[in-house]
Amino acid sequence: MYRYDHYDQAMVDSRVEEFRDQTRRRLEGMLSEDQFKPLRLQNGLYLQLHAYMLRVAIPYGTLSGAQMHALADIAGKYDRGYGHFTTRQNIQYNWIKLDEAPDLLADLARVEMHAIQTSGNCIRNISSDQYAGAIADEIIDPRPYAELLRQWSSFHPEFLALPRKFKIAVIASQTDRAAMKLHDIGIRMVRNDAGEIGAAFYVGGGMGRTPMIAPCIREFVPVDQLITYSEACLRVYNRYGRRDNKYKARIKILVHELGREKYTRQVEEEFAHLLTQGIEPPLAELKRIATFFADPPFETGLADDVDRSDPGFALWLDRNTLPHKQPGYAIAVISLKPVGGIPGDASVEQMHLMADLATRYSFDECRVTHAQNIVLPHVRKADLFAIWQQLEAAGLGAANLDTVEDIIACPGLDYCSLANARSIPVAQKISRRFSDTGKTAELGELKLKISGCINACGHHHAGHIGILGVDRKGTENYQLLLGGSEGDDTSLGKITGPGFDEDGIVDAVERATDVYLARRQEGERFLDTYRRVGIDAFKEAIYG
């Protein structure tokens, strides 16, 4: 994985000192809260309902064992013993004190980490495919391109006061595991007919209150023009994105209002101009970065057989591991969705264990997924049983990847100052309900996503089943959506009808799954059955 050189380290260290100085000026009253707010936001610090929340960047979701240990230490030292992994492959701490934040950032810098641009109206942490470098279906590892973009976007002087936040994802497979088309810019690395690598640009996707799927604005940007093209996309947005209404300020609204053709034409004109400005790093820099992402020294000649005699292990093996590109290896996913737990939460002890497992069994590497789980990307199949035993003992053995229990949920009204309704208790009740009825395994792949407000941090638009918490005359109310997907066949869910209270929504979800079980045909997932039979059959069962 990528390692800082003295340049990268000096930039992060300078940022810590800058923020220490800004915090001091705030505490001494030299900066007003209005002036301080964008500064703290660009260092990941939000003021929430009960305390400050700090969001730490995990570029393209990749962590070393030492970094995961450091995140655990921070949870113990500055928080109440937990960290919360997020849908943008980051980690958040919910109980941070402002005067301790500079020290926390200094602790992060010691392990080549930071919280730079994890919030605010700027280019956010770059996300990617959590199986990069391990999965067989990728044409190339997308992470070197993500790292190139990370450096370009860090402290980019022109783009630190954009109309609104800006999220970029980079993938390199036909299978989209990063919800690429639901980003401000989604980049898919592709190979053209001549065999050259380039980037397809999808611009103007997003969730929030106006969800949109990004159109492709260019099929092939040569790899030695990637930064220049990105800069052109951003400059057009910075100049013409709406600033009169916060809810219409994302680039998706600009692309929608101008139309794809007109936005594309403006980008192409700016691109042609910027190509004359010499802003593109040389290919040698991309090559330098790529060397950090070379394959680890895999053993060869390993057997693919695994002893399945323990039924609990066999279940986990079937549910939580994926084929690896290298014979004898597997990708193992640690579920942070124990039945009745808080989606994405991990304790200090659990984080230390995951760090140890990454170091011992996965070439010192783990990944955070946008579904709020942790991946051990390169595990010998012969080690899977030992890993599972240790996970089981630590409460991390849930065999429920991509099932109805593997719920994405935002922090909701338990923490977030924007929320209208709680998300966590709903997630807990749903996972308990399906665990109790034993239907989880039978339902198979079923992506359920919960947001506690219309900002859609819990990706409810993209869930096979989505739940949106709203405030209805002062009480929490939950709307049900069906038919969303974030994969290759990205689609947006539709609201079924009137909302429910907390227990009502759990019943409604179960009734929707009963329709699937009754109507499914051979090999169909919930989403496939929904798409075939349509929403009315579900409405009838849900509202009777």
């Binding site: 450096q151 101009h273 790093p281 040698a284």
Partner: protein, 146 residues
């Protein structure tokens, strides 16, 4: 306290800066003021006669002026580029990188604070036309030299 922070040797322009609209009617003016909604490219035919372009930041959170500044510099404008309005010390180094070479903040700067902000970053990650060699260039210089 600093009311005008300037990084130029020449004499400041004494003429008041005109709005873009009134500038187009007065062909001999040498100073103009861009508002966030103005298109900096409308000034490109007049760069030879312009000695001062003020770019107004009515609110520090509106970043259109950063793009306007770079567009003028990229087109070869070498007169004074002045940030005016709600300009805060924490934005100084980024504004310098976009091509601003003078600052007339609504609320004067504390000189030590401005100095600290300007010397904050040892290196930079991007090429922006301000003459600083980005980190990627330094990395590959170092490799080819040694």
């Amino acid at each position: 306290m600093v009311e005008l922070l300037r990084f130029r040797e020449d004499e400041p322009v004494a003429d008041p800066a005109l709005t873009v609209d009134s500038f187009s009617d007065q062909s001999n003016a040498s100073a103009v003021r861009l508002e966030p909604g103005d298109d900096a490219r409308d000034l490109l035919p007049f760069l030879d006669q312009l000695r001062l372009v003020e770019i107004n930041f009515p609110s520090f959170g509106d970043g259109r002026g950063y793009s306007a500044a770079r567009i003028l510099r990229e087109a070869g404008f070498d007169g004074e580029l002045r940030a005016v309005g709600d300009v805060l010390v924490d934005q100084l180094s980024y504004m310098r990188r976009c091509g601003f070479d003078s600052f007339a903040p609504e609320k004067p700067f504390n000189p030590a604070g401005a100095q600290a902000a300007l010397s904050r970053w040892p290196q930079v990650y991007q090429a922006t036309g301000d003459g600083r060699r980005p980190i990627w260039a330094l990395r590959h210089d170092a490799q080819s030299n040694g």
